[in-house]
């Protein structure tokens, strides 16, 4: 890969998706584009570069999609989802008692495991949410990933890398020998939409809880700031944001203030409208326990 090739693809990705590819991540190009090379029966990476330089729009689309397909897994990192179940959801139920509804957004949902982890957690709340109207909106830029998310079919490896076996048996049907399809009942109230985080998100509506995990690290700082600002405008004043555990809004955007950086947990920062409590800390459930360790 020549420096010119790298610069060309790097510019294409930045312009179309906000993804910032630095030289030290150039190995990712070959890894991520291998499926495109195979699908198109190219000889190698040079054929991809030649194609996009010729201005082949379908190929450009495929390249952006391949580079933007994010790694994900069910209940990734565990602790943020345990916090979501033990603290944020009970507090949401308490705070939204009068209207009995809330909305959750999963940004960069990729192949859907995050959105379904949220749905599985809501289902576990059982009777506590029986009379509630709740919805999950899951967005991603990549059509192929969203299609997989909508199908809800996962390999044996994917389901085992996060789901407890009883949760798997209770919520999936086995398809053939090695695939598992999520039950339709769990998908009720879920929407999957193609959306680019660097564009205006306003039309998605307002949310009480937002997951945007392992997405902003793909962007440069100005784009991170813009994306976090876009997200903050969607979030309720007492709402919470979960970033990836190694991501931060500190020093990037004043739209959020940290609640627990080990969990990637942030609250909306609106100094003009001080909020006494947010969903992560309100009520009696604030003493989050994970194993023997209190984290909040």
């Amino acid at each position: 890969m020549t420096p010119e090739d790298f610069q060309y693809i790097s510019d294409l990705l930045r312009e179309r998706s906000g993804l910032v590819l630095t030289r030290d991540k150039s190995y990712l190009i070959e890894n991520k584009l291998m499926p495109v090379i195979r699908r198109r029966r190219f000889q190698g990476l040079q054929d991809v570069f030649d194609g996009i330089r010729r201005g082949d729009p379908p190929l450009m689309h495929e390249v952006v999609e391949a580079m933007m397909t994010l790694d994900t897994s069910f209940f990734r990192d565990w602790k943020p989802f345990e916090h979501f179940r033990q603290v944020t959801l009970p507090n949401t139920i308490e705070a939204r008692q009068s209207k009995k509804s809330f909305r959750i957004l999963s940004c960069g949902t990729s192949t859907g495991q995050e959105a379904y982890s949220i749905a599985l957690t809501l289902k576990e709340m059982g009777d506590d949410l029986a009379a509630w109207d709740h919805s999950i909106v899951a967005i991603d830029l990549v059509d192929a990933a969203l299609s997989r998310a909508q199908r809800g079919i996962y390999s044996q490896f994917e389901v085992q890398s996060g789901l407890p076996i009883r949760m798997l048996l209770g919520n999936f049907q086995q398809v053939g020998d090695t695939q598992w399809k999520i039950n339709d009942s769990l998908r009720a109230g879920m929407e999957f939409k193609r959306w680019n985080l660097i564009e205006d998100l306003y039309a998605l509506g307002a949310f009480d809880i937002i997951f945007c995990r392992y997405v902003i690290r793909l962007f440069d700082k100005p784009t991170q700031k813009r994306v976090l600002g876009n997200i903050a405008r969607l979030l309720a004043d007492d709402g919470v944001l979960y970033l990836g555990v190694d991501e931060t809004a500190v020093g990037v955007s004043s739209a959020f203030k940290p609640v627990n950086t080990e969990l990637g947990l942030y609250a909306v920062n609106r100094p003009d409208r001080p909020v006494a409590k947010n969903l992560a800390l309100a009520g009696a459930a604030a003493g989050f326990q994970s194993g023997a360790n209190a984290l909040v």
Binding site: S161, P164, Q174, T178, S290, N293
Partner: protein, 122 residues
């Protein structure tokens, strides 16, 4: 150091599993059949067992039933790790007393996830 008993009649599987659990900070002990696993469990209980289904002598199902009868045996975390990957077999293992189930083939991410789920690692 926490102990993991690996019970599988395949030497290759035992070696792969040992490397994975050692990377997770466990001391691994390998045995090739359920009867030997039960003998070891009678003298010293491990923290977690990775257990194959079909083995010469005592099967995985028979082992877990016997283990649960031992003093202290009810609290040992048992994770089946088997090629039987249909719902009926999985349900049978859970009914016999297994805590979790891994459908082979497996890798380090899967073992780590299952160890977290049964609570032997954070």
């Amino acid at each position: 150091m926490k102990q993991c008993l690996i019970v599988d009649d395949s030497r290759v599987v035992r070696r792969v599993a040992s490397r994975i659990v050692e990377d997770l900070g466990f001391a691994a002990e390998e045995v090739a059949d359920g009867a030997k696993a039960l003998e070891i469990s009678r003298s010293r209980l491990p923290d977690v067992v990775l257990l194959d289904w079909e083995m010469p002598g005592l099967s995985g199902i028979e082992y877990v039933k016997e283990l649960r009868q031992l003093p202290g045996g009810e609290g040992i975390k048992v994770i089946f790790c088997a090629t039987e990957n249909d719902v009926e077999h999985i349900q049978q293992a859970l009914n016999a007393g297994a805590d979790e189930y891994i459908m082979k083939p497996f890798d380090g991410d899967i073992v780590r996830a299952k160890f977290h789920i049964v609570g032997v690692i954070d």
